[in-house]
């Protein structure tokens, strides 16, 4: 093995827990304490922001807790909003294993939803056990190919995947608008152009005893599967090697290009599946309402979870809770619904800035210097 390849493996192995116990506990504490501290700082900054708008921060915090976990209704609202975020976050987290920053989850979500709707509309009388898997396959395939295309451009043409995936989102939205106002429009939808609806029988129901749809379970399972893929399979290990040192990965003969395509496809597939669930569990038809912003919020969830697929689960619930509290803030404090997006933006910026703290808290990790 060449020296460079060895360096790549060493870099990967260094991330595995071979340090003494105190360091290990410290490192684990670090990955929890720093994001929590960053969250608290973000909430304080948001408090200053709403105070400038003449609203009491204390009231804001109170309504945020009430609106996210204050009642069974709020909890269900939070979980319903978390469900798509679990999947759209994977759209950023999976390619991130290879050091790719994909931010086109919104496009994969929209295109997945669109193709799933088309499939559902094309099979009006088929039994649900055929329609639902067919719709899911359409959403997964369309979303996967959408982001896979960004991966292909990156691999074969060296096109920056961050820019191309975002441009693809705008194109996906244009395609959606074009179709629902053109050939795929239900003539009966007068005021708001929409596609025909899928059959009631094809809709995914709620988890028994709740108002939360099955998308939540799908999302949690997808995150667990992604974690196993990344942490416990050769493929995932190879992808992380390529993300750590791409030249080393090439030198030891890893199929870097195929890994890029696969992980981009899987990321897009997750977001496309989220789009399918949005149609099959919530909206029942395609329209401009599919531009939900879940794709963009998923980027934040993935970064907040440090691209760790298991950590996405609690983070998605947390960010879903912030979104769920938006309604109460609007109703009681007259804050615009975009206020929660401002808070998400603050969290995102502060979390990234907090990256500078890792390994710099000697009292925590026992590291010197």
């Amino acid at each position: 093995m060449s020296e460079e390849a060895a360096a790549g493996f060493t870099a990967e192995l260094r991330r595995r827990p071979t340090r003494p116990l105190r360091g290990r506990i410290g490192a684990a504490l670090e990955t929890v304490l720093i994001p929590v501290a960053a969250l608290i700082v973000s909430l304080l900054l948001f408090g200053v922001f709403v105070a400038c708008a003449g609203v009491s921060p204390i009231a804001v915090y109170r309504y945020m807790i009430e609106g996210s976990v204050g009642s069974w209704f709020s909890v269900q609202n939070t979980l319903t909003r978390a469900a798509p975020l679990l999947l759209t976050a994977l759209c950023t987290a999976l390619p991130a294993q290879q050091g790719l920053l994909i931010i086109g989850g919104e496009g994969a979500f929209v295109i997945g939803a669109l193709f799933a709707t088309m499939t559902g509309v094309a099979l009006p009388n088929a039994p649900s056990w055929i329609v639902e898997p067919a719709m899911a396959a359409a959403g997964i395939g369309a979303g996967g190919l959408w982001i896979g295309f960004a991966g292909a451009l990156r691999h074969w043409r060296g096109v920056n995947e961050t820019i191309s995936s975002l441009l693809l989102s705008y194109i996906a939205i244009a395609v959606l608008n074009q179709l629902v106002e053109g050939v795929f429009r239900d003539p009966a939808s007068l005021n708001k152009p929409s596609s025909p609806a899928i059959a009631d029988a094809a809709m995914i129901g709620n988890i028994p005893g709740s108002e939360v749809h099955w998308g939540l379970v799908v999302g949690v399972v997808a995150c667990i599967l992604a974690y196993i893929l990344i942490r416990h399979t050769t493929l995932g290990f190879a992808a992380r090697i390529a993300g750590g040192n791409i030249r080393a990965a090439r030198m030891v003969g890893l199929p870097v290009g195929k890994l890029v395509l696969l992980f981009c496809f899987l990321g897009g597939a997750a977001a496309g599946l989220a789009g399918m669930i949005e149609v099959a569990a919530v909206q029942q038809r395609a329209s401009a309402d599919l531009i939900t912003g879940y794709g963009y919020t998923g980027i934040l969830v993935s970064f907040l979870a440090r691209h760790n697929a298991l950590a996405i689960i609690p983070v998605a619930v947390l960010i879903g809770g912030i979104g769920a509290s938006g309604g109460l803030l609007q109703r009681h404090l007259a804050l615009p619904d975009a206020a929660t997006v401002v808070l998400q933006g603050i969290i995102f910026v502060v979390i990234l800035a907090s990256d500078a703290l890792y390994g710099r808290l000697p009292w925590l990790t026992g590291a010197r210097g």
Partner: protein, 308 residues
């Protein structure tokens, strides 16, 4: 016939006039990003800066009655966002692309939030100069009515070419972008130069945003930019970090952006959304053609993370 006496000639005329109009934000954002990237940093947050600039300019113009105060306010907000990006990226182990994404989402959300009361009122607009006074064809006169900001941007491009090449500031900026090590060895501090370059880039991005809301028939809504900032960032790569080429590339993207409205003006309504997405298709196509997986782009500042 809606096109009047000149028939289908109205389409190229509309596109020409539209190219000049639509290119203005592309021009300002790309020149600003050019300065930032020359210093070795990339700011993807200019999409958010563009939105904040548009919102602030509209608000300031409405409240003060002067559109130029609006432009100035947009520039100041742009500086604030640019400096935020610059300072955070100067912290150790912080990824400038990720911070750009965060500030993009932050800027778009903040503009949406603060801009809610601005959807109704009408703000004073920037003046446009009528270069078509000699003609009596209305379409031609419309095409030759050029906004004052475009002229400023057009003058800025050759000024930047000169500045990069012939001034001490330009040399330090390029040195920092090519090799931070060499700059340090010569006694220049890298971080302040990059922070300043990002601040100036934000200033121009904010001004580009002011054009969106203050050029006839200007208004504010939360979808006013929809990707023009990120397109302009890609445009800098296409223009090989050369301000002069940025100018022509901005015109090209402006023409692509004007395609949809031009066709609509002559009564072609099919494919409206797809034609409006023409700049995104064009950007993807151009990046696919000009980028290469084999070697770095010619003219790319060596310290730039996005081309490494």
């Amino acid at each position: 016939m809606a096109t009047g006496s000149i028939g289908l000639w109205a389409v190229p005329l509309e596109i020409l006039g539209g190219a000049v109009r639509v290119s203005t934000p592309f021009l300002f954002v790309s020149l600003g990003e050019c300065i930032t990237e020359k210093s070795g940093r990339i700011n993807l947050g200019l999409e958010g800066t563009l939105m904040m600039g548009a919102m602030t300019a509209y608000a300031a113009s409405y409240l003060s009655g002067s559109p130029w105060l609006g432009v100035l306010a947009a520039g100041i907000v742009g500086i604030a966002l640019g400096l935020t990006h610059g300072v955070i990226c100067s912290l150790p182990r912080v990824n400038d692309i990720a911070v750009g994404i965060a500030l993009m989402l932050f800027g778009v959300g903040l503009a949406d939030d603060l801009g809610k009361p601005l959807i109704q009122p009408a703000a004073p607009q920037l003046p446009a100069i009528d270069f078509g006074w000699w003609s009596n064809v209305p379409q031609l006169r419309h095409a030759l009515t050029v906004n004052a900001l475009f002229l400023i941007g057009a003058a800025l491009a050759p000024f930047l070419v000169w500045g990069f090449r012939a001034t001490r500031w330009g040399l330090i900026l390029r040195l920092v972008g090519e090799s931070g090590e060499a700059a340090r060895a010569l006694g220049y501090r890298v971080a302040p130069v990059r922070i300043m370059a990002t601040g100036i880039g934000g200033f121009l991005g904010g001004i580009g945003g002011s054009f969106l809301s203050l050029s006839y028939p200007g208004s504010w809504n939360e979808r006013i930019s929809s990707g023009q900032g990120i397109t302009a960032v890609a445009l800098v790569i296409f223009a090989r970090w050369n301000p002069k080429l940025c100018f022509f590339a901005a015109l090209l993207f402006g023409a692509a952006g004007a395609l949809g409205p031009s066709l609509q003006a002559v009564g072609v309504h099919g494919g409206y959304y797809l034609f409006n997405a023409a700049p995104y298709f064009l950007t993807l196509l151009i990046m696919t053609i000009t980028c290469s997986p084999k070697h770095n782009l010619i003219g790319a500042p060596a310290e730039l993370s996005i081309t490494k």
